[in-house]
């Protein structure tokens, strides 16, 4: 998977961030290169989801220090929609429902915004239908979901599949999947993981945020990071995830001197 010619896609240095006045990230450092799959693990409240929101540009999260380079550019200077057009994708833990907005129209507008950025031709309604058809198979989604309102009345598993469908349409450079496995039964997990596996290649990268080994049995990470109190405490290979599964997080947290929140 890893090759030396790979591109440095994401470079996070000493990132601090807060939400509603509360410090959540306390100096995150992380590098991701093309062709790599990273897993980010940690307890609830350790800052994993916050990191994903900060990278995607959620307005409620304020960066107080540090920098993030995305393909050499200052990521934090871009609006959320610009980040998406540049190929950064966040698969949401809880995708929101948007009543009255048809899923296919939403997917088309979204896809076209990315295509426009890439200098590709925007797709009209008819050619988009063909394009989306080819991607539906990837997540084994019924075309009837396209006619419904965005995520409205979708089950947990359907929402997650809709997220991976969006990933398939947008062809991102960096995909951050925030607890995509949560709330999925084993069959749905396989479908979602299968979709992700088909979408990863030497030119893109994936950051999986998860609590569980079971997702990492389906999608093999090159690196596993353990986050605690807003910082990455330890980085290892896939064996680290298995150790965590056996022994929990405590041994890592105890092993390193606690610095507390600064």
């Amino acid at each position: 998977m890893i090759n030396s010619n790979s591109e440095l896609i994401l470079e996070i240095s000493d990132l601090h961030a807060q939400v509603e006045g509360q410090k959540i990230l306390n100096g995150v450092d992380l590098q991701i290169r093309s062709g790599e799959i990273h897993a980010l693990m940690g307890r609830n409240g350790s800052g994993k989801s916050t990191l994903s929101k900060v990278l995607a540009g959620h307005p409620a999260y304020k960066v107080t220090n540090g920098k993030v380079l995305y393909r050499g550019e200052d990521l934090l200077g871009f609006e959320p929609e610009e980040r998406a057009r540049l190929g950064l994708f966040l698969g949401f833990q809880y995708p929101v429902e948007i009543p009255g907005v048809s899923n296919i129209e939403f997917l088309r507008v979204s896809t076209n915004s990315r295509r426009k950025q890439l200098g590709e031709e925007e797709l009209d309604i008819f050619s988009f239908e063909d394009f989306v058809d080819s991607r539906l198979k990837l997540v084994q989604m019924n075309p009837s979901f396209l006619e419904r309102s965005v995520n409205e009345g979708f089950s947990g598993g359907e929402k997650k599949r809709n997220e991976i469908l969006q990933m398939a349409l947008l062809e991102p450079i960096l995909s951050i999947l925030d607890e995509t496995d949560s709330g999925l039964d084993i069959d749905a997990l396989r479908i979602v993981a299968g979709g992700v596996n088909q979408l990863t290649n030497q030119d893109n990268a994936t950051l999986l945020i998860t609590h569980y080994q079971r997702l990492l049995d389906e999608i093999k990470p090159d690196f596993v990071h353990v986050m605690s109190s807003g910082r990455i405490l330890r980085t290892g290979g896939s064996e680290l995830a298995r150790e965590l599964e056996d022994s929990g997080y405590e041994w890592i947290e105890n092993e390193l001197p606690k610095t507390g929140e600064s």
Partner: protein, 480 residues
């Protein structure tokens, strides 16, 4: 980085219909007297019965007091400071469009309502009303082949006086309410539609109202009659220039529907709403009512209300015929200091009558947006049904939304359902769309138009896209 404050800036796009057409106008002098009423009637060469109608209304109006129950808090109008009739100097209705003053045609072109033959909307006939008079009606001959009459009410008075005498004031009586009575005394022009028995009107009919003069009131009168087993879809659009004074618009619309006939009445109202400090704008105090006289008759009101400083209107249905059906679909968007108090009255008189109410209110800025509606089921309306759904969306922290549903049921066999909800345009929904590459403003208008989808689906095709665009335009820079 963009903050939520930006959501507050999206509703303040400059009003693009605010221009004034420089045309010589004939106005009668300010103020309202019996003489003024007689003058209006004389200018229109009206028959005696209509003059009598006007004078009776005028005399009754003198005994009435201006209502205040909606507590809209506007400055009292001085009715002696309004001009009750204004018309382009050369206001003889022309036989052909080629003879109409090019400035007037240009005005309607600029408003996106091309009247000239070659550019006409292919399946919509238009009656264009400029200040107090109708200047052109398109496709009249083609409609006449089907026996459909579509003309200005002034022409109808001259050509079909018996229909006017029979139906005018039969749905909204001349003593109905302060503004309707005022209209009955001084109404200037408006549209007249007659669909004969058994005819489905072959095209959409549309009236376009334009207020051009600053100090006039516009009092148009519309009368629609659908005979047995006929049907028609009628659209109404409105704009006005920007003035820093308030202009009164007090229209009356009456609809009569006989056995098995149906009328669909759609409005896109975009009168000038005043500036962001609430200076200027139209007072839109309108009485609209339809009467389902026949069995299985149907009236459907759809409205998209985005303009006016104050909108005060309740398009209503009197469901008299057995199994008659009334519908009301409304989107009201207010911004800055706009106030809208709108809703409907569904009066169930006959057995097994049905009504549906779907109201979507969106308030931004410091505006106030209220739904006020009455569902009344009479003692003989056995087995009747009503379903109401009233949803409000708030944009920013300074806007207000109210819902005032009044329900009266006088028989136990009827069924009334009412649902209401209020929501805010959420940061999370916006972020979700943005994180898919959709720009901030587009995301806002996508969410808002999704919120209005149930109502937009009721609009005729030509209007649905227009309404979507209008909403997006009004919302630009308003969200916060």
């Amino acid at each position: 980085m963009k903050s939520q404050n930006l959501v507050g800036e999206i509703v303040s796009k400059p009003y693009k219909y605010g221009f004034v057409t420089d045309i010589e106008t004939e106005k009668i002098s300010k103020g309202l007297t019996e003489e003024v009423v007689r003058q209006i009637s004389a200018k229109k060469k009206e028959p005696q019965f209509l003059l009598d109608f006007r004078l009776k209304a005028y005399k009754h109006w003198l005994t009435m007091t201006e209502p205040n129950w909606a507590e809209l808090g506007y400055k009292k109008l001085n009715y002696q400071d309004i001009i009750y009739y204004a018309a382009p100097r050369d206001n003889e209705k022309k036989a052909s469009l080629d003879e109409v003053d090019p400035k007037l045609l240009e005005t309607f072109d600029k408003l996106g309502i091309p009247l000239t033959e070659q550019k006409r909307l292919s399946n919509v006939a238009v009656d264009a009303v400029f200040d107090s008079v109708s200047i052109a009606t398109t496709y009249k001959e083609k409609l006449a082949e089907h026996g459909v009459v579509f003309c200005s009410i002034t022409e109808a008075v001259a050509e079909y006086p018996e229909l006017i005498e029979q139906y005018l004031g039969s749905v909204v009586p001349l003593n109905d309410n302060f503004f309707a009575t005022l209209n009955s005394a001084v109404f200037s022009d408006g549209s007249f539609v007659f669909i004969p028995k058994g005819i489905d009107c072959p095209m959409e009919l549309s009236s376009y109202f334009r207020i051009n003069s600053g100090d006039i009131g516009q009092f148009e009168r519309t009368l629609i009659i659908a005979e047995e087993s006929s049907s028609v879809s009628y659209l109404e659009g409105c704009t006005a220039p920007m003035f820093d004074t308030n202009t009164l618009h007090a229209a009356v619309v009456e609809i009569v529907v006989l056995d098995d006939a149906s009328v669909k009445y759609s409005t896109v109202q975009n009168w000038y709403s005043g500036d962001e400090n609430g200076v200027g704008g139209i007072y839109n105090f309108v009485t609209k009512r339809g009467h389902c006289r026949g069995v299985r008759s149907k009236i459907s009101w759809s409205q998209v209300e985005t303009g006016s400083a104050i909108t005060w209107k309740y398009p209503s249905c009197i469901l008299q015929g057995e199994d008659s059906v009334g519908e009301f679909y409304s989107v009201a968007l207010t911004n800055h200091l706009q106030k809208a108090d709108t809703g409907t009255k569904m009066i169930h008189v006959g057995p097994r009558t049905k009504s549906t109410i779907v109201s979507k209110g969106i308030s931004a800025g410091k505006s106030l947006n209220s739904y006020r509606g009455l569902v009344q089921i009479g003692p003989k309306a056995i087995g009747s049904k009503n379903y109401s759904q009233c949803d409000s969306m708030l944009i920013g922290d300074n806007a207000a939304a109210n819902t005032f549903p009044y329900i009266r049921s006088q028989n136990p066999s009827s069924c009334i359902e009412h649902e209401a909800s209020t929501c805010r345009i959420s940061e999370d929904k916006l972020f979700y769309l943005q994180s898919r590459g959709i720009g901030f403003e587009e995301a806002v208008s996508m969410i808002v138009s999704g919120f209005c989808r149930d109502v937009f689906n009721q609009l005729p095709m030509e209007f649905a896209a227009e309404a979507d665009k209008l909403l997006a335009l009004k919302l630009e820079g308003s969200v916060g």
